[in-house]
Symmetry: none
Subunit: 228 residues, 2 copies
Amino acid sequence: MKYKIFLVEDDKHFAYVLQSFLKTKGYEVDWFENGEIALEKYKNNHFYHLMLIDVMMPKKDGITLVKEIRSINPSIPIIFITAKSQNKDILTGYEVGADDYVIKPFSVDILLARMQVLLNRVYPRSDTTEIVAGNSLLDINRNILILNNKEEIKLSPLELEILKILFQNLNKLTTKNELLMHLYGDVDYFKSRTLDVYIAKVRKWIKQDPHLELISLPRQGYKLVSLK
Amino acid sequence: MKYKIFLVEDDKHFAYVLQSFLKTKGYEVDWFENGEIALEKYKNNHFYHLMLIDVMMPKKDGITLVKEIRSINPSIPIIFITAKSQNKDILTGYEVGADDYVIKPFSVDILLARMQVLLNRVYPRSDTTEIVAGNSLLDINRNILILNNKEEIKLSPLELEILKILFQNLNKLTTKNELLMHLYGDVDYFKSRTLDVYIAKVRKWIKQDPHLELISLPRQGYKLVSLK
DNA sequence: AAAAAAAGTTAAAAAATGTTAAAACAAAAA
DNA sequence: TTTTTGTTTTAACATTTTTTAACTTTTTTT
């Protein structure tokens, strides 16, 4: 999914270069020439992930613009890009609610790094949630098992947890107790039997992948092995 | 509540001045003289809100230190404070996982502003009015959900509260109890059923956004995930 | 090899949740 | 006040998930 950037900059040439660069980096960029137009457009469409705003502009300057945007949306990430490098100006920028203040001339790589840091903070990506084994993939975030790069199987919570542990311990022994403690926090006869039932279910799926096998080691546990 | 700052800086005089300043501004500051000591201390006590780390230090430099800290804690806010002002150095700083990079000599007010911005992002006060997820936007002020950047749906109070919590916990599990406690302050059978009814309603909307999915985890809760 | 224990398998029962519609309630308008 | 409108709750039925039960096979113990 592409991030949408709201760029406000009166220097057409600079804006064009910046816009092109960001597009090559996979961003969608909408450019607005001054604060007045920008505010108008933002009122019509709030759907942006980050704003890059110049300070000195005709019609409506960046500081005023950000004040007004902040009154509508106190949380959207905003970075000032400007030639004004006095401490006083920078502090004003932060005071009106900017997240960062980048001084021209700047390296685009550094602007990019700062944008990425900010975007990652505000829209945290869910931690890696895909485990590959054999010809299959377990997507923990979406609760699905994809067999042979094809068939998607929706998993119930219990199914997912069991597969998660087996996949994480690929080619290693997973004890029954380990599984039960993880699923229930304790161990008893009926829970153990429930697990047996689920193992049977999981085994049916695993069988469909010729590169995977779920081996039972009686009195020890289970081992998901990937075959060549 | 006071924020706890983890300061790593080999220049004793500079560290003392900075520490004193931050204390007058209401922060608690623990100072460590080099990367080696710092890492040792951090391993014993993870309870810090933000780290200020010098790059050039004897024993263990800041870059190495941050790499090691990030492997323990991928999310704690880190600001480099350093005299190294080459683009190459700055980019390295961001690459190893810093949130900001402040070049010496700097005005303490500006450092303070940057710290505040970062702390507000990481430990947000709940005054956000708009949350973006997938291709959609929840406008808490106007009580509307904008789907696919197009269709506006007016939300009832209950609908809004449910969506608010789901959007705030994007890609994370929201337990049914959490939702019920937030909506009603207590939990019973009928309230739980009411929630089920509303989840069905909300799910219909969410389905319209191809970048969003509302997953049910029976016995656990719900998870709003943003795809791709 | 026989008995006991553990695990595999399938089906049924129980519990939880999904879904739709109607009833009850509350706030605003006539 | 009554009517209208919108919201929340309850009810009824459907589906999914988990647990229990019953029976079978495998493994371990005696």
